[in-house]
Symmetry: C2
Subunit: 333 residues, 2 copies
DNA sequence: CGATAACGTGCATACGTATGAACAAGGAGG
DNA sequence: CCTCCTTGTTCATACGTATGCACGTTATCG
């Protein structure tokens, strides 16, 4: 079986509580005792049991992170900084990769193995946030936000959508299309909203035949492109829900022999590292993924530690248009 | 504070142990009592505390999975199936993303928050496996294996390397190069070994100026290509340590204006989904990632549950060459 | 009808750690 | 010389669940 603090106590010739205090740096323990306990712990390879500690302190010092699908290249770039920032605050990250926020997710999250949660893939219609609130598990929205009020760290997605629309209009595009994210995500909805609004303000129509909706996945872009190009007139520019979708479009364009950007302008959103690959050189909307993740970590830590107990906070980061090689004036301009 | 089994017991008018038994499906509890307990638990939103359960049963029903870097597209494809298969066996996955198997990793892994571990990124010179063995934490090597004996699920990497060499030779290539993985990984080493052996058997030299080593990352391929092409004569074919490296090479080739496969044949290893994208159409060596992950999950579950207690097992999966569009006969053939 | 078995439930306790309170030993001050 | 404080340690117990064992009840059989 495992080594317990009792074993260490026996070897060091002290009581179990003294072992606990010595190793946790309680100032009431004498230096000499600390030395003896440390030595004994070392000799036995003692590692305190997290289960015991959690039970006793009623806190696990772990923060959950819920993402949907790690094979989507977007999420790993969020998870890394989250891990590091939580670590820096003395918390450990516990990653949950629920495909869907399925039945039972709330139960699994509230079994006291985490003190708080970062929701990175919440949908607007999800029942999970309300359920978490009811069960009093502190949580923070990251990237996407839901309808239940809670701390949130997001990008100004409307502004990003506007920036893209303005760029396209300024470049002379008049047949503009969009492959938007799911309606039940705040990111998908707001990017589309801002984009549509700015186009409308510029007096440019966005035809239904030039738009699609779909999950933020490679396949969405890949399958959408041929369908959109079948429209008459075909769009000369496409705004994609995020970079992963845009890269799917670029991949499909290659397959179809469509020249980008000569025949088609493609714009993404997020500026993940892959967007900068020579194979894609994707024009996109950049925001600071790392900063976003770090901020979310900070907020959730403040919640679980009780450092902050006030009203929900909403941190909004600013996006910026990044011009690369998938962006040009239209042939028929 | 949280709802405990005592609260449920009080509401249902039974004792705490009965609640435990009722919810865990102990056959000794009467149907009527089960019904009452269930109802009370439901009404209170009771979720059993994992910490309490772990402490009492001395097992967490959690399996750790240690990977280095999730932004490497290879790993998410391993993690997904692992998660599902562990789930199917009644275990939960706990993902650890240590950048390095740093000091203290062994301690964090042996704090009894996991019953066993899947090592997906072990290096040959790592001290971690030996340390885990000393601390008696069951573990399984996945994809890569180490020197400390333990269950392992791997690909026949030597055979894969041989297959690539034979293909290149059969296609008429004589100036062949390689961008191999790190020497301290079993995958890097074995693929290189098989490749070199088969070339030697065919009487074809592998010049030092045509080879490089580096981590299994995009950047490795991207930076290596120009250096290798500077050799005289330049290689007409390159075997890459894995797909991610090969995609880095393809990306660099695009930047340099090198035509693939007309001027350069590029071969990868793993057949991750991205290899099949139109943008790459990478010829590669396929093995069953999902099967590999599922098998590792099975082995580690057998270990922690005590179903299997015998000698270490080594499961070897067979690779198969997949011909796509980055593979042709050389111009100077 | 009494002995016995089968069934259902409660009691006591273990798991490993942390912590408030009690306590022992020693030193300072009156 | 007694009191009071300081310092370092131990005692007792809590945390929430699971489980061996004892116990009570009812059905079963001789």
């Amino acid at each position: 079986m495992g080594i317990t603090s009792r074993d260490v106590a026996r070897l060091a010739g002290v009581s179990q509580p003294t072992v606990s205090r010595a190793l946790r740096g309680d100032p009431r323990v004498s230096d000499e005792t600390v030395r003896r306990v440390r030595q004994a712990a070392e000799a036995l390879n003692y590692v305190p049991s997290e289960a015991g500690r959690s039970l006793s302190t009623r806190s696990s010092h772990r923060i959950g992170v819920l993402v949907s699908d790690l094979t989507n290249p977007f999420y790993p770039h969020l998870v890394g900084p989250l891990h590091d920032e939580l670590e820096a605050h003395g918390y450990r990250m516990m990653l949950f990769t629920e495909r869907s926020e399925a039945m039972g997710a709330a139960e699994r999250l509230t079994d006291h193995s985490i003190d708080g949660l970062v929701l990175a893939t919440s949908t607007l219609d999800s029942a999970l946030p309300a359920e978490l609130q009811r069960r009093e598990l502190p949580f923070v929205y990251l990237n996407r936000e839901g309808t239940t009020p809670a701390d949130a760290v997001v990008v100004d997605n409307r502004l990003g959508g506007e920036q893209v629309a303005n760029q396209l209009v300024a470049s002379g595009h008049r047949h503009i299309g969009g492959i938007f994210g799911p309606d039940n995500t705040s990111t998908g909805r707001d990017r589309e909203l801002g984009f549509r609004q700015a186009l409308a303000d510029a007096g440019i129509a966005l035809r239904p035949a030039h738009t699609k909706h779909g999950p933020f996945e490679f396949e969405t872009g890949r399958t959408a492109l041929p369908e959109l190009l079948a429209a008459d007139p075909a769009p000369t520019a496409l705004f994609c829900g995020n970079d992963v979708v845009a890269i799917g479009v670029l991949d499909a364009a290659r397959r179809l022999g469509v020249q980008v950007p000569a025949e088609l302008t493609v714009i993404g959103f997020d500026d993940i590292p892959m967007a900068a690959w020579t194979s894609f050189e994707l024009s996109t909307v950049r925001h600071d993924l790392h900063e976003m993740a770090r901020t979310a970590a900070r907020l959730v830590v403040e919640r679980v530690s009780g450092t902050y107990t006030g009203e929900p906070r909403r941190i909004v980061l600013s996006p910026r248009f990044i011009e690369r090689q998938t962006h040009a004036t239209p042939l028929d301009g």
